[in-house]
Symmetry: C2
């Protein structure tokens, strides 16, 4: 792991520009040709740097791509400081899950996210880094919103909030990953309603 100093000494600004160009090129190339055909040569050519510059900073194309994905995703996470809270939990969850459907269906993200997902399955160290830098911050945002709902009496006091996150986001991610059916906003709505109300017969009268 390279540590980045807070104040930028001579040359660091140029290094940062090269680093960003390399990471952006790696991300775009995976979207265009797939992870299997990604090469250090192609990244270097696209970024306008020498291959040696890349090898000095990263041990493998997998490491470059992972940093690229994290850079772009971290920008996204910091752009979403909290999940919406209008007081209407069901409506808020539907709007968030509909946005997730849009991201998963975006061709720019589809192939890179598939590559990352499968790399993680076979690489426990990568899985741990991913969990710490990306999955865990995202999970906290979701749990924070659900905890507020629980405190407001909109979720059962006994509900395990981590499992709640899984029941809400899991079905979307699985349908995307397994390509079983098209991922639609209607499915997002159905998932929210089913997770909140459960599979058992509904005893509450529902307001239409």
């Amino acid at each position: 792991m390279t540590k980045h100093p807070k104040s930028l000494p001579d040359g660091t600004r140029r290094n940062e520009a090269s680093r960003k160009a390399i990471l952006t090129s790696a991300f775009d190339l995976v979207g265009e040709v797939g992870f299997a055909k990604l090469s250090i040569e192609a990244i270097a050519a696209r970024a306008g740097v020498g291959k040696q510059t890349i090898y000095r900073w990263w041990p493998s194309k997998g490491a470059v791509f992972f940093d690229a994905f994290l850079m772009l995703s971290e920008d996204q996470v910091s752009g979403y400081p909290a999940l919406p809270d209008t007081g209407d939990l069901e409506a808020d969850l539907k709007s968030v899950l509909r946005a997730t459907v849009g991201e998963l269906n975006d061709p720019r993200y589809d192939e890179p996210m598939r590559a990352l997902t499968t790399e993680i399955v076979h690489d426990p160290e990568l899985a741990a880094t991913y969990a710490e830098r990306l999955r865990e911050p995202m999970r906290r945002l979701k749990v924070d919103r659900l905890r507020k709902a629980q405190e407001a009496g909109q979720l059962d006091a006994g509900t395990d909030l981590d499992l709640a996150v899984e029941m809400l986001w899991g079905p979307l991610l699985n349908r995307w990953l397994q390509r079983t059916e098209p991922l639609t906003v209607e499915y997002a709505d159905l998932v929210v309603e089913t997770a909140l109300h459960g599979l058992s017969p509904r005893t509450q009268a529902r307001v239409a």
Copy 2:
């Protein structure tokens, strides 16, 4: 796809024995060395056949391994003609999901199932074959059990049964795949209870 005739002509029995030896060897080797290090040479040596025998029947090591996984899994599926039905849906689901936890934690299956899962993500054709021969028959067994419960008034009449399968089995598979936490029978029980009763406040009095 090779079609297997119902009556066995001369030589077919010997071919079947070789085929089984090759598939069993491929499956065991993936469990021992991982899919990435699996080789046709090693499969041939373990099965006591020539490499050409394998290349005559399969185009790649991936194809051999996929058939191996299907052979063993199909044996398992045909060994489970239906999910248990004691009339107590919650108890039945807990016993089935506890068995799933046991299978996912079995080191003999862990690496082969990871390999298959990630191959499927990148290979739509493999995904379609897998869906037809394995996922779909398993899904039907689960949906059949849930439909009986729905007809008996133990599931809400409006519940989407495919999504119900996803809410019950998805969290287990994801925890296993992402290695986020140990996969335990306690988690299986919690998933069943949460999926049935939902995340919203429970209005029914529960019998302890």
